[in-house]
Symmetry: C2
């Protein structure tokens, strides 16, 4: 590579964020995709993403972009990897950084806005061929999510506010692709601040399970004092 490239000629790149939203429904981890109403890759499925504005920092740009395309706002976003293959975007040098969020699918009202023509939740193992290098990006990020689930109890962002211990266990079984023993699972999660509610499951044709909820505040405090070393 030549030394001849002038400093100013290196200011010809663009930078985008791809916002991957993970949810959990029907026993599967799902991801929110948009159908592009814009060239390039018009009509194809893609991860919601867009260019960062000149005076935006990355976390705020992630919030804006996600909101503009999907109407989702105010969810915590985690930074993921950065992808910069020079051929990844047909219209120029666009480097992209992933931000991903975990949401309760039933609690967010996702709607296609801006140049997103359509939205759909897709099980992570049934994702179609997507625009750009979005399949690779999603794969890498899903692996990061699974690793994060192993060490931080962020699974509660995916579960409904009130959940049964079985739903909880099934989420882990799905993410780690491994069956777990019911009794042992319950012993393992003992240190987590989840509270049993008086409410019970309804409309099931067997003994209804107790509902539980997660106490985020208590968790943050226990975490501060290093009382939790959670590992699934």
């Amino acid at each position: 590579m030549p030394n001849k490239i002038e400093f100013k000629d290196l200011f010809t790149y663009s930078f985008s964020l791809d916002c991957i939203v993970f949810g959990y429904r029907d026993g599967q981890i799902q991801v929110l995709l948009i159908k592009r109403a814009m060239e390039p890759f018009l009509g194809e499925w893609a991860i919601p993403g867009d260019l960062v504005y000149p005076n935006e920092d990355l976390p705020e740009a992630a919030q804006r972009i996600l909101f503009e395309l999907t109407n989702i706002r105010g969810v915590e976003m985690h930074q993921g990897s950065t992808f910069g293959n020079p051929k990844r975007h047909p219209q120029g040098r666009v480097i992209t950084n992933v931000f991903f969020a975990l949401v309760r699918i039933d609690d967010v009202d996702a709607e296609a806005h801006s140049w997103a023509e359509e939205l759909k939740w897709t099980p992570i193992h049934e994702v179609p061929k997507m625009a750009f290098d979005h399949n690779e990006i999603l794969e890498t990020t899903y692996e990061q999510l699974v690793q994060k689930l192993r060490h931080q109890p962020i699974c509660f962002d995916l579960l409904p506010e009130k959940f049964t211990l079985n739903e909880f266990q099934q989420l882990y079984e799905y993410a780690f692709e491994k069956e777990l023993d019911k009794a042992n699972f319950r012993k393992k999660i003992k240190p987590l601040p989840i509270q049993r509610l008086s409410e019970k499951q309804k409309n099931v044709k067997h003994r209804p399970a107790a509902l539980y909820s997660f106490n985020q505040l208590t968790y943050k405090e226990l975490e501060k004092e290093d009382l939790i070393t959670f590992r699934m």
Copy 2:
């Protein structure tokens, strides 16, 4: 933020990589810094880094940049976080991505090249005020390094080829800021593929310790078969 920004006007950014090299010497984790012989921040200490060329992918740019500035080549680099505060670079919008490496300080011959006027290894806890947002960048990346040490046996990239079990233990004690029991530490590392050599420590005024080396190949195979669940 207005919708008026034209697509082409968003191609005015630049993109750099910062290459953080960690080493281990004198019982401390150290980091390689350069003194800048170039504006901005002329004469100040910084993490080695530079702009990515138009048709370079990120991993190859990381190798080039590290080599150009420090003469270090061919070391494995791990991707870190991306920093994009719009005010982080005084000369324009430069977004930067970290790549970090773990090396054996005594095995690499680091030399200041290009616009690096001087190099120095600095203990991670004695890093001076640096150019740009490099202090923040380093801090974030060091935390990532420590996390990685906890789950992957990459500590062997830091240790000399032949090491004593005590050196090994001290590296962990330093990284996790926690004293460990000698006997228990040795039981814990049993599953790792390290081999005792016939050679012994020299020039010590006590009983010389046996030297060990790490077998990377065996490790990769054990890892493939999921036989290692290493956690310090």
